[in-house]
Symmetry: D2
Subunit: 366 residues, 4 copies
């Protein structure tokens, strides 16, 4: 479905970095869900550029609900969010439009769209399109919270600095759900900020690994094969620009251990079946087991750097050197974390409604 994601609930994305508007259509969401503007603004603020470790392009990102909302609540009909693009400096791009930016989609866009795509600011491939994803995700994340399901993402590692692991998930997720720099350990956060600043000072960029936890998810959600929870979440997560890896639970570290260490033993906690460890990240056979869902994503270093780079001039079909101007982030993983949260909320709402019906999401007694 190309730019549409989800079955019971779907999100369709549209827009270009320098077009008049960007936006998203949410379809299939239950009627009667409150549109909590404070909640949505808090999420949008988590994605907002932050001082000198971010781009100078700052957009209002105010979501305008042109349909599907009536008297402050979802109607159940398609909900279209549009956001204006106001702070565009298209001239920055036209000068270098034939120089393919390494690590970006300039070249692949030309190959796919035969040169008809809007190249300004990365066009449809711009990270700006994550803003409507965040607005859409905020509506769904709030609805999930009403059902006791909470999502939070921290920076797990950047270069040689690691944040502390998740501990008490309830308080950790609460701490993460503010626009502050998203580490659990503030000192680790300060060091990662320094890494970003140093890279920026050296006209370079850095990447990082994010870790996400979801609590309160019921067991029995997901499908055995092609719509496993891992499949559907990964599908959504790899749609986020710069995500190049996704792992659940112990992930790639499973290559280092034996089955006797990897298996999560079950035990009874009162009437509830739990596992002693959570190496499988809350998922067995593609289906939730009731333990927290835990996964990591890697965000590659921002492709836009201010150093001269070897590339090609696609009009002249010859080698060239590119020196970027414009406004760019030296790192985006700290901003991307709320996009990861949003994609997670969208996926889970979809899979929960497939299982429990459309109206489940709005049902207060849940």
């Amino acid at each position: 479905m190309k730019n549409t994601f989800g079955n019971s609930i779907s999100v369709t994305l549209f827009g270009e970095s320098h077009g008049s508007h960007i936006g998203a259509v949410i379809d299939g969401i239950a009627p009667g869900i409150e549109i909590d503007m404070d909640y949505i603004h808090n999420k949008i603020d988590q994605r907002r550029p932050q001082g000198k470790i971010s781009t100078a392009r700052v957009e209002a990102d105010e979501p305008n609900f042109v349909s599907g909302v009536f008297e402050g609540k979802t109607t159940g009909t398609p909900l279209c969010i549009i956001m204006e693009n106001s702070n565009t400096k298209s001239k920055d791009y036209s000068k270098t439009k034939d120089l393919m930016r390494p690590g970006h989609a300039d070249f692949t866009a030309i190959e796919k769209y035969h040169g008809f795509a809007d190249y300004r600011g990365g066009g449809h491939f711009s990270g700006r399109l994550t803003a409507p994803i965040v607005a859409a995700g905020a509506i769904m994340a709030k609805a999930l919270e009403n059902k006791g399901i909470f999502i939070g993402t921290h920076i797990k590692r950047c270069q040689n600095i690691s944040d502390r692991p998740f501990g008490d998930l309830k308080s950790d997720i609460k701490k993460l759900n503010t626009p502050a720099f998203p580490t659990l350990d503030d000192r680790a956060g300060a060091e990662i900020v320094k890494i970003i600043e140093t890279a920026a000072a050296e006209k370079d960029s850095v990447g990082g690994i994010l870790e996400t936890a979801v609590t309160g998810i019921p067991s029995g959600v997901g499908e055995p094969w092609f719509d496993s929870i891992e499949s559907v979440l990964a599908h959504g997560l790899f749609a986020v620009p710069a995500v190049k890896g996704v792992e659940f639970g112990a992930g790639f570290a499973f290559a280092d251990v034996r089955g006797s260490q990897a298996n999560d033993s079950f035990y009874m906690d009162g009437d509830t079946v739990k596992t002693k460890t959570n190496n499988n990240g809350g998922i067995n056979g593609g289906i939730t087991n009731g333990m927290p869902i835990v996964f990591s994503t890697v965000i590659k270093p921002t492709a836009s750097i201010f150093r001269p780079q070897d590339t090609v001039d696609i009009a002249k079909m010859e080698n060239a050197v590119l020196e970027l101007k414009g406004r760019h982030d030296p790192a985006i993983f700290h901003r991307a974390r709320v996009v990861i949260d949003s994609i997670t909320a969208i996926c889970l709402c979809d899979m929960l409604c497939q299982r429990f019906g459309t109206d489940w999401l709005a049902d207060k007694e849940g």
Copy 2:
């Protein structure tokens, strides 16, 4: 779509480990594609248990094409493959059916299916269902080869033993496409076999990391957001039992480098645009750039081990100890690699036909 995967070309999977048959329906494949039984058997042999590092359950796995094939070629109508389950020992399972095997889907299946699922041998969750995936993938991989697209997967690492990296892809992929143990360096292969044998001797199991390369894929294939090549491939790959992580190109190592190292510089190779490095694994902005697609998957240690394990008795709702009998693999990554190849072939055929039309796959002139 639950157990159906793909748009232009789709695969629907069905069956249980101890039912009468397992199988798959391929829909949307072009008419006139040759069914090369030698090619298919070679693929099925790559998945077959191998001596003492594998389960003692050996199935014929002979694919029976009950529809969609006429006079040795695809007809263009739905192609149903069925395989008999003959060598089943269901008694092994009934004794312990209430003891939830750690790391398996026993518990989540009960939560999802309320106790109605066939529990014998893991039922629908059994790795046996990868046999029809391999048969389906073989038809598509052969069709891709006719178009100059080749896929190969080797064991990248198991515990502390790493295979050598991919070198000349043409010869490496050729070497991998036999039933031999899938490493590029035979000595590394022998050491990994030893690791598996040691684990087996100690009633335990091991996991590993697989690396896959695809050559000959045209540029411009994939979608910018939700159907990025990464999204669609990851969706399929995470459907494979025991896959817990997927990374493209440098993957999680992107957290260790700067943008100036991570970006793949473009250059002209005659009339062709290429990149000097391939850290992005042949994909920019979710779309192929013409360089080889490269990705890694991690396969967790087989969940079935012969050591006593803590678990719960789901009927009595109390803690219990499980001692597995039966026939199990101490490692499955070496068998899983052809499943990864198959999923890759299925995904790519689907995305290529979306782009170029249904008949493209059968078109000899390519």
Copy 3:
């Protein structure tokens, strides 16, 4: 999705008239639904050829559930039904394979599949593939009956003979759910049988109009635009071979009346909102209003007739005359009615589960 239909619950169809097997995969059906073989056989009998007004080819049509059923109930995993093709006389077809049968899909199959399709007996286009549809529909119709939803179809008209209109739906639907000739008025039925016999005697065939009623369907099911109940039902109904028209409620007669006659006035029947008339066939704005769903379908005369017909020889690319041999029905609408019922059951199960969740269908308290 080509040969797959449905979202929450889907049916994938496969097979050819003269292949080894035909079948269907049901995916997404709730676990714990009883497989009532008497009920299924009754439905299969409704589709069975009937004496001299039907083809002489009689198949056992015994559904073999190769997956998704365990201990007599659905497991919740994909349910594959296969049926053997035993009574095939392929020689009948090979002689005339280049002569395109008028009204059949021979020519369009060649255009679509470039000559690779199995031509014997119409191949994948054969009405035989409605047998697994009926088996799949029977499972769903039974589950709907457990929820108080009943479906029945009668012959509304053939040539100048009309059956009496639906009266008391409960008893009318009960009367129709047997293998007897499906009219409400037995005398009308006898006259229609005569029409068929006369046509058969004159080496010709006839068509007819079927009318279907569904009682007990809750209000509020369906979507406002592209997945209106009418859209989804019509999508399924037009998949049935020989269906060339579908109308809901008054249908094409809406061109003869004014709004004041066409509108169905609402009134309170105790606490329930009902309509005085049901010209809209139980559907307003694409969504059920709680009144019975009523629609008609037209089944064209069987294309296979024994008279000489003008056509082309597709190999020689020249005009030719075709004289059919073999075994053919002089009418199929009386057999098609259970296929219409089955498609209706499949559609409604899908839309109800989308609304109320997967498990709703199995929920006894419902």
Copy 4:
């Protein structure tokens, strides 16, 4: 997919009659297709209210392309069209919001959306949402014309007045593609206008039957079962408000004839296979045979009439009488015809691109 339609190319609809905007997102359309504003305006004019036989609510309906268009051509990325709602008189509706309008979706919307939907002017169910369908369809219809495929719809019948049948399709379709009243015979048109005026004068409304023809469509397009051309077209057509019946070729009249009359004999016209008659409307076995596609749709009388009507007050749960004020059409079939054309263009583009690939639509040589 609820409010999204199509596979290769999809259209997602959003908006409410009295919200700020209505619109649609087209996804999957090839890059490089010219946005011909004159062509689009002509189509929009065909849907525009016409003097005294139409509502007094006249909207600019100017399509604003907020994404997916660059320098006058499609980019290949999602194309979002928005249109402003300016001429809204919401007060007309709030007075009678609890009185369920017979024949409308007021009641079913409450049942589905539990009272949260925007009731003003029919909300999401309003015929106003056909305006973005027409804009979307115009882009596709123009692209089809560039490939030699033409679509036209006339009024076949209203009450006892029938238009003349289609004759020379090329000139007939040309005649229909203007904002003039859509009959082939101007005198029949004048009489139908009189029927509408008389109904309007008597505070009533009328319906009618539309007939559509498509020329130039290649043979071999469509799928054998669930995605037959009839299935996909009917799915789209029944999404249009007030459509209650769809028939292909001879349609319901197939019940009146025998197979020997119904079958379309093939013959050679030079190198091309044609049929002598076209009772099957250009479709055999769900697949195009190269003859013109011909189908009819019935549009019921406008539900909004100015006579007092019996209904219920849904708040008080008691019987009531409704007297509508506001602005309403006494007939909509003459305006609906361009919506039918648009849905047809959308469906055919989708099915053609599935077959021939995404880029086919933009390919000039085609």
